[in-house]
Amino acid sequence: MGYKVQNVSFNQANGTTTLRNISLSIETGECIAIIGPSGSGKTTLLNVLSTALKPATGSIEYNGNNPWLIPKSALKKIRAAIGTVHQSPPIPSQQRVITAILAGRLGQWSLLKSVISLIYPLDLLGPHACLQRLQLEDRLFERCDRLSGGQLQRVGVARVLYQAPQLLLADEPVSAMDPVLSDVVIGQLIEETTSRDATLIASLHAVDIALRWFPRIVGIKNGEIAFDLPSTEVNETMLKELYASEMGNLPMQAAIAA
């Protein structure tokens, strides 16, 4: 059981290659952090894993199935079990938080239920509980354009929590949050994953968060995998080399007293 990425490459529309020959093997239940400098291909890799982008070469496999070779209805089912936390949540600005979260289960609901929920939300406790875990429950009925950047990101996380997928992908999910909040959110993502034996792959900009929370670290540079190691084996030289383009400064959240 697991996810396989084999020799995947991806090219942007303007011709630049963002992923070169990436191969990864992921077991169900793992928590992996992807780190690397800006523009290294972290977001593209996550998009390929979420079936948002089709690889130019190579293949991906979910439990032995290639999602690009199966009928549309089966792909829909697979997608309903993959949740993505976007760095900039794709939520219409006038939408209320409750509806934005309910949208997480659109892949599992019938059309009738979806339409009714738009006008009269059919489940209020579920989204409320998700927001509670992220300390945002008092904003349940707020419009999304009234929220700060960090609050909006938490709504995006809440949507994925509500979806309860088997594969959680997170693209820089705490980039707009302060250190305390970042810890809460990452902690919730990991707890959600381990409690349901799901899989979590998160791209992170702050190296210390990655090292602190994730047992396996994948470093990406220029679209290629630089290293793929347990976090205990990652040392400072590797990190400095990874971030060489950023003048060797390792991006960190502020250190927190334990």
Binding site: K76, A80, I82, Q94, Q95, A103, L106, R143, P165
Partner: protein, 268 residues
């Protein structure tokens, strides 16, 4: 060197403007000449001898309570025709907007564009004449006519709005397994809804005026009443109806201004 260059460019630009302006003025003058109209003779030829007594026959307007009640029901009929037509047309246009924005491929777009152009190029009055033939005299014909024409107008406007709206919200929902329709109503519709509502309300305002006009071919509302009274040469009653039309327009004007100031529409 630079000053001569600049004045050359400036002259060229002005020349183009001037040319267009001259062309337009020439076109306007030609149109008057072609029609054989001399605007300065409007008032000398047909002056006080015929205009004044004609308009004098309209005063005083008939304000009897029975007639005012009739006018009242005429107003309600006009409002109903326009409201239902606009509502129906909006719903139809929402469906038309998707192919119009290219969501069903280039063929869908061309067909829908053609359909919308056809619907809106035929004047409402012509639609009304045809509808009167189809369902008889009365407000239903007017409603159908307005619905058809407005669907063409709104179909195109809705399509343009949809085309200009970024797709990333809807795509994100499709990527978590949502059906296309649900993804649309959760991801795109809330974003475009205020603009669509604005167009619909504006169109309703215009349709109220249109609904009065359609009455001239027997499609109900104040227009039918006016035409009737005028053909019986009952000018005072006609003036009452005209005043009612004015009143309606002023009211709708004020209401739509108020509504525009408090635009806080949200869906979901």
């Amino acid at each position: 060197m630079s000053t001569t260059l600049n004045s050359k460019i400036a002259k060229q630009f002005c020349l183009k403007c001037l040319a267009i302006l001259c062309f337009l003025i020439g076109l306007s003058i030609w149109s008057f000449v072609y029609l054989g109209l001399n605007p300065f003779r409007f008032f000398s030829n047909y002056s006080e001898s015929s205009i004044a007594p004609f308009f004098a026959r309209f005063f005083p307007p008939d304000l009897s309570s029975t007639f005012l009640l009739k006018i009242g029901s005429g107003i309600l009929e006009t409002l109903s025709i326009s409201a239902i037509a606009t509502l129906l047309a909006s719903i139809i246009s929402l469906g038309l907007a998707l192919p119009n924005a290219g969501k069903f491929g280039p063929y869908g777009k061309s067909i829908t564009r053609f359909l919308c152009n056809f619907l809106r190029s035929v004047p409402e009055l012509v639609w009304a004449t045809i509808m009167v033939l189809a369902v008889g005299l009365g407000p239903f014909a007017g409603t159908l006519a307005l619905t058809l024409h407005t669907a063409g107008v709104l179909g195109r406007l809705f399509g343009e709005t949809l085309e200009n709206y970024p797709e990333k919200n809807t795509i994100a929902l499709v990527n978590i397994g949502s059906g296309k329709v649900a993804a649309f109503i959760y991801g795109t519709l809330p974003g475009i809804f205020p603009q669509l509502l604005s167009y619909s309300l504006y169109r309703w305002e215009m349709n109220i005026r249109m609904a009065t006009i359609l009455g001239f071919v027997g499609a109900g509302g104040l227009g039918q009443m006016l035409f009737y009274e005028l053909s019986l040469l009952r000018e005072p009653k006609a003036l009452s109806i005209i005043i009612a039309m004015l009143f309606l327009v002023i009211l709708i004007d004020a209401l739509s201004n108020k509504l525009r100031l408090t635009q806080r529409h949200s869906m979901g």
